[in-house]
């Protein structure tokens, strides 16, 4: 492929898809924790399902940002300036979440743990919602002027479409977190049963919200207009998947359910980026001002270098991350947790 900007646009989409897939279940587990875990042992078990993984999962978003910076610098600056409040909140949330993970267990005191549980809940919820809102705003377009700068009020990005997008990703991530728990918790555990119920409920919620978002996207933004003949492909795949999740849940096929929620996330991400192409950020002020894959891309020399580097390291990273998941593959039992006495 000689069209390096397009290649890197696809890779950017893929990196986001991997990020949403991986950190999506972290967010979901964090958001579900207060509702599913009723004892300290159960809370610990839930945290332990993501304990060894969340940090490496989060690195995918750092990579996504780095790749946009290197491959599409103009997109990087405009997007982040335009959605400044959203990105600020995401950053604050990612800080809170990471620290909550690490510090909760440092002191065995009830109020200390409760503080971090609350922090963790809020900071998992926020990015799950905000990523959807950001994606929705990217699809909807932003007022970008002739100089390629955002020319609008900073609350421009708060609208029903972006709120709907936020709620859709939030529900999808919660569902994904629930099916992840089905896979990671011991099936005999009472927690496992609760996770299954949560998955069924959130499966319904997510289906409704995703469909509403797709419908709104279709009438408001011509979301699938650029897909040509295949415009039905991605939403159809997403719909089939959501059906599959329900089937898998009712049949008790945990791995299938998790694969299906993961695929829904991947297809949704592909839909978003596919509908953007050949733009990266459409302008609401006129098509002439659209930021496109070609006009925001770095020079060929930079992109070639990035391609070599990516080709060398991405397979390696995927390899050792997979090995990491393999090392910690055992299912977790809440009743195995050792709860020390202490200041409870």
């Amino acid at each position: 492929m000689t069209d390096l900007p397009t290649l890197w646009f696809i890779l950017t989409a893929a990196i986001f898809a991997i990020y949403f897939f991986l950190d999506g279940f972290d967010f979901g587990v964090g958001a579900l924790q207060p509702f599913l875990a009723r004892s300290e042992a159960e809370r610990r078990a839930m945290i332990r399902t993501v304990g060894p993984f969340w940090a490496a999962n989060e690195v995918w978003v750092i990579l996504a940002a780095g790749v946009i910076f290197a491959a599409f610098p103009h997109w990087y600056g405009t997007l982040m300036t335009a959605l400044y409040p959203e990105f600020t909140l995401i950053l604050l949330a990612l800080i809170g979440r990471g620290v909550a993970f690490e510090y909760r267990a440092e002191i065995n005191h009830r109020r200390w743990r409760t503080f971090w549980d609350v922090t963790s809940f809020v900071t998992n919820l926020l990015p799950a919602f905000l990523w959807g809102a950001i994606m929705a705003n990217m699809v909807r377009g932003l007022p970008i002027d002739a100089s390629g700068r955002f020319d609008g009020s900073l609350l421009y990005s708060v609208n029903t479409f972006s709120v709907l997008g936020g709620l859709a990703t939030l529900s999808l991530f919660v569902l994904h977190g629930a099916t992840y728990l089905l896979l990671r918790l011991d099936d005999d555990d009472v927690l496992h049963g609760r996770a299954r119920r949560a998955a069924l409920i959130w499966g319904a919620v997510a289906s409704a919200l995703v469909l509403a978002f797709v419908y709104q996207g279709f009438i408001r933004t011509g979301l699938f207009g650029t897909f040509g003949l295949q415009e039905w492909l991605f939403p159809l795949a997403a719909a089939v998947n959501l059906g599959l999740i329900w089937l898998a849940l009712t049949l008790g096929r945990d791995a299938l359910a998790f694969a299906a929620t993961g695929l829904t996330i991947v297809f949704s991400t592909a839909t978003i980026f596919g509908s953007l192409y050949p733009n990266v950020l459409p302008s609401t002020l006129g098509d002439a001002y659209n930021l496109t894959v070609q006009n925001t891309a770095s020079e060929p020399y930079t992109l070639r270098l990035l391609t070599w580097v990516g080709a060398a390291f991405l397979p390696l990273i995927i390899g050792y991350q997979a090995w990491n998941f393999y090392v910690f593959r055992q299912r977790i039992r809440a009743h195995d947790e050792k709860i020390p006495g202490g200041h409870d």
Binding site: E102, T302, L306, F313, E337
Partner: protein
């Protein structure tokens, strides 16, 4: 739209950048140096199969973990703010700056986050050699990360391997960027500085335990490892710093002149160096100055006959070259933070040498009267880093990319209100984090090696029970 409380978006964005970088930098060098010390300790434990040393490794690993968490989360902000607050900068340098940033993620962040998890949680699931390899991989990852980010920063101070095209910098020679002499000097300086941060922390913790006669056999090992690290670190910082000063005279003469508060080019055929000065940007001279002859020439050129240009002459030169404008950085903070850095560097070397001497005397385990000094020393490298960044980043103003892009042209057009709000939010969160970090580090360090309060599942699952005792 353009100002809030008298601050412009540019002022606030600069303050935000300084905030993010400096807070982040409290944790990063610690991670870089500490991972290496722990890897050395674990290697000793692995070779000797001594359960005491294994415990020691886990103990310091726990402290590492507490600190690492904050380093990671503050680092994400560092990356995103280039786009959020510095849109002009992102556009201008993306072609070049993005590559080392992406390399840092690909070559370092994934390694660190994956293998640290394996090392800490997977201790009982992977063989001992794999555990040892994991901590060395983490140590390598932190060092690689430092390398790439310094290469990126060095390009801004000394742009190489590029050409200007449509008003932005475009890469023409990647190898020149990687081997930027400025970058290599800085990396040496930064890396040695990181060693001092971790070394003085480990020295303090070990000294405290030695003084309390707790686990003496283990902590005397960490004390010695840290002392050697401190020697390499504080010696290396000074040598690399000397090199850097000399390259600054060539590449960033204005910054060098500000370091020395040298307003006018010296008249004789040598350059004095001021010991104390009260620089004034308004008067464009020092209100007070105490100088030593010849020292300036030696510091800048390794001889006693050459002289550097003064700020006032450089200002005229720059006006002729880049058009009218103010090319003079704010001298007094640059001058004084530079001196603070240098002073603290020599203090660190001095303290290290005192203890090396005690080692030779065979009095290292003896809690002498100097031990309280070691407890305060972890502050010194942090303050030196802080001052160093202030000096080097303020010293290059008004340039964000030396000679190519001014800071004022790099900033995003944002409502200052939003920047102020985010700045306030980051301050609250960062101050909380620093407080928590120091509190938990102190608490965990003082508790020492023992069965922990909590058998934690999520993170610190510190299992200090020796391998042998378990069997």
């Amino acid at each position: 739209m353009n100002e809030i409380l008298g601050f412009s978006t540019l002022d606030l964005s600069r303050f935000q950048f300084a905030t993010t970088s400096i807070f982040h930098y409290f944790f990063v060098p610690f991670t870089v140096g500490f991972a290496l010390i722990i890897a050395v300790l674990q290697t000793l434990a692995y070779r000797s199969r001594d359960p005491k040393l294994e415990n020691l490794t886990r103990f310091f690993g726990h402290l590492f973990f507490i600190n690492f968490a904050v380093g990671v989360v503050t680092g994400i902000v560092q990356e995103f703010q280039f786009g959020m607050n510095w849109q002009g900068f992102s556009n201008f340098v993306g072609n070049i700056f993005g590559i080392p940033l992406a390399l840092e993620v690909l070559m370092a962040f994934f390694l660190e986050s994956t293998f640290l998890g394996l090392w800490w949680f997977g201790k009982d699931r992977i063989p001992a050699w794999a555990s040892l390899a994991s901590i060395w991989i983490v140590a390598a990852g932190t060092t690689i990360s430092a390398f790439w980010i310094i290469i990126a920063n060095a390009w801004m101070q000394h742009p190489v391997g590029f050409e200007l095209k449509d008003g932005r910098a475009v890469m023409t020679d990647a190898w020149a960027i990687v081997t930027n002499p400025k970058g290599l000097e800085w990396f040496a300086h930064i890396w040695a500085g990181s060693l001092t941060v971790a070394a003085f922390f480990v020295l303090a913790v070990s000294a405290d335990h030695l003084r309390r006669r707790a686990n003496v056999e283990a902590f005397r090992v960490s004390f010695r490892v840290a002392l050697i690290t401190a020697l390499i670190g504080s010696g290396g910082v000074i040598l690399a710093g000397h090199e850097q000063g000399q390259s600054a005279v060539r590449d960033q003469p204005m910054k060098y002149a500000a370091f020395s508060a040298l307003w006018d080019t010296p008249e004789g055929n040598q350059m004095p160096e001021s010991l104390v000065a009260l620089p004034s940007n308004g008067a464009r001279e020092n209100r007070f100055e105490l100088s030593v002859p010849y020292v300036g020439s030696f510091l800048a050129f390794n001889n006693f006959t050459e002289k550097a240009k003064g700020i006032n002459d450089l200002q005229k030169e720059y006006e002729a070259k880049y058009g009218p404008g103010n090319y003079t950085p704010w001298v007094w903070p640059v001058y004084w933070s530079f001196r603070a850095m240098v002073g603290l560097g020599f203090l660190m070397l001095l303290v290290t040498l005192v203890y090396v001497w005690r080692w030779r005397q065979g009095k290292l385990d003896d809690p002498g009267r100097l031990y309280p000094l070691l407890l305060a020393m972890p502050l010194a490298p942090h303050l030196a880093n802080f001052s160093g960044w202030i000096a080097t980043e303020m010293g290059r103003q008004p340039w964000i990319v030396q000679g190519l892009l001014r800071t004022g042209d790099a900033v995003s057009q944002l409502n200052p209100m939003w920047v102020l709000l985010s700045l306030a939010a980051f301050w609250v969160v960062y101050l909380t984090l620093i407080g928590l970090d120091v509190f938990l580090l102190t608490r965990t360090a003082r508790a020492g090696m023992h069965e922990p309060d909590v058998e934690t599942p999520s993170v610190p699952a510190p299992d200090y029970v020796p391998e042998g005792a378990r069997a």
